[in-house]
Assembly symmetry: C2
Homo-oligomer: 138 residues x 2
Amino acid sequence: MLTEKKLTVQKHSDKRDAILENLRSRKDHPTADMVYTSIREEYPQISLATVYRNLASLCENGDIIALGAKGRERYDGNISPHNHFFCLSCGEVEDIMSPIEISGICSAGKEVGGKITSASIVFRGICGKCLENKSKNN
Amino acid sequence: MLTEKKLTVQKHSDKRDAILENLRSRKDHPTADMVYTSIREEYPQISLATVYRNLASLCENGDIIALGAKGRERYDGNISPHNHFFCLSCGEVEDIMSPIEISGICSAGKEVGGKITSASIVFRGICGKCLENKSKNN
DNA sequence: TTGAAAATGATAATGATTACTGTTATTATT
DNA sequence: AATAATAACAGTAATCATTATCATTTTCAA
């Protein structure tokens, strides 16, 4: 009945380290497949399943962030608080590093019956590149 | 080459009206499948594809909002500005109606090369129901 | 009424992610 | 160092939400 997650001890993994390092070293917000392509330069025989598995455990460890993108998930190796812009046209995600202040989160916390662990601002729109393409094609 | 979206004239559709009415009349944030189940009480022969199609066009019309939930999309018939809380455990979405003020969006807009069309705050955490279940099973 | 185009139902196809299985690597303990 | 337990792995099948296709029906302007 109770679906307890079996508590396991994580062992060392070169692949997981490499995936974390890969995400930390880049400034974009790659999909699992993009990480797979990139990491294969170092580990040509790595399996896509391994990439997915390690991305999931890195998220659980709090080492990286899953951005909650639609359709294909995107990951961020930068875990310092910042916000994101999602292009509705091409799916690209950009960092919004400008400091943004939110007032009223406290009352939001009271409104939710549960526990809030994170809050961030999601900006949506059309990125510069897509705007360009659009103007070319009209 | 240029993938122009063919400009079509939308014709009247009872199903689309019913789906919009369904979303407006409920306070939760159903998935496409949940809408399908509900709307079949009125239109037992409706196809799931029709539900998906109409949810998409209602979004394009600006009549409803897709919340960008992970895995399975969720829809909201309330288009007045408000924010949402996503439960990381069960996927439920709750409204955050408390007025929340954001300052600094302007500078964020400058930072993005493109055009920002919407901004909202995403709260994540564990909902009350999941917190309860967790405490029972420990 | 008629004809063009949108909407629909049924279902196949797609594509991202997860599950499974047999094998390999890690690590604590002899 | 050898052993044993189990986490991590590669390869691949399975899952599942969503989209595409296509033949038919409905809408609606002329």
